[in-house]
């Protein structure tokens, strides 16, 4: 009897897993095939448009990061080697932007638009930046926030490939944050200190 119950439990668990795999693949297959998946449902029954809304928030974050580095570069406060690293990081954010735009279009969503540099300058209050250390601290703060934001949105995705993408973005932002922190002479982050 017990054996039968276990077997029945295993069977239903396998069914659940299979069902989940099929449903989770709906958007993933559409992503791979390059067709809109706006109406795709996840395993939880959540519409793919919900995932797209979260990705669009991430895209807005990347737009802001790109412009923040432009503002930092234009400040003339950065020494040449530091500027080179800042522009490398900006390039990473542009790659993030392009990837997010691509995924959003595949999902049938309209990607969030970039605002003007002046809007970002005001929102980020860049007038307060008076030295290279100020710029590095400002950038480190944004990168740290981005790490936590990306880690924080991972559970909200119905589709696992999108959660993985958020994890990849978080990893890149972590790299940026650590490099900037080291440039500021700060200690390496403690274990489990991100996302809390």
């Amino acid at each position: 009897m017990i054996k039968h119950q276990q077997s029945s439990h295993d069977t239903s668990r396998r069914r659940l897993l299979l069902r989940g795999t099929t449903a989770l693949s709906a958007t993933a297959v559409a992503l791979l095939a390059g067709v809109p998946a706006k109406a795709a449902k996840s395993a939880t029954g959540q519409d793919a448009s919900r995932d797209a809304a979260v990705l669009n928030t991430a895209l807005a974050l990347e737009h802001e990061a790109i412009n923040a580095y432009t503002l930092g570069a234009q400040s003339k406060l950065l020494e040449k080697p530091v500027l080179a690293v800042a522009l490398k990081f900006q390039g990473d954010h542009k790659a993030h932007r392009d990837r997010l735009v691509s995924v959003l279009k595949t999902l049938g969503a309209t990607p969030a638009e970039e605002k003007t540099l002046a809007v970002y300058a005001q929102a980020l209050d860049v007038e307060k930046l008076k030295s290279q250390a100020d710029v590095l601290d400002f950038a480190a703060g944004l990168e740290h926030g981005a790490v936590n934001a990306y880690l924080g949105i991972i559970p909200s995705f119905a589709d696992r490939p999108l959660a993985k993408l958020a994890g990849q973005l978080a990893a890149d932002e972590t790299e940026h944050f650590v490099v900037l922190s080291q440039a500021l002479g700060r200690e390496l982050p403690a274990p489990l200190s991100f996302g809390v």
């Binding site: 919900r50 809304a53 979260v54 669009n56 928030t57 807005a60 974050l61 802001e64 005001q122 929102a123 980020l124 209050d125 703060g141 944004l142 740290h144 926030g145 981005a146 936590n148 934001a149 924080g152 949105i153 559970p155 909200s156 995705f157 809390v196």
Partner: protein
Amino acid sequence: MSVRDARWIGAISMTLVFGVARGSPVTGSVARGKELYESRCTACHSLDHSRIGPAHRGVFGRHAGQVAGFDYSEALRSAHVTWTARSLDRWLTDPEAFLPGQKMGYSVADAQDRADIISFLASAEAR
């Protein structure tokens, strides 16, 4: 009573008075809430400028979807919600469950963390 004790009592009283004045209890730590806010919320928000999300100063007691110039989702624009300790707690627990169709994908799982963040937000009164 030491000066330090008096300051603590004063701070606690301020928090309680503020919470009662708004009609809902605010029981968290403003100081810890500030740390949490800076760590978790400032990727998208700030007190004084709308960025990815709307500016937060004065959010406590404000009707949802009312920061001028911010591009809210229809869910927030049409919501009949006033931001109190209770509504903010529900929002931070699961924004999508609270107001389906909103844009925020971030939530705060721990009740004490939410209480502390809410206390910090309550302390950031409109200028």
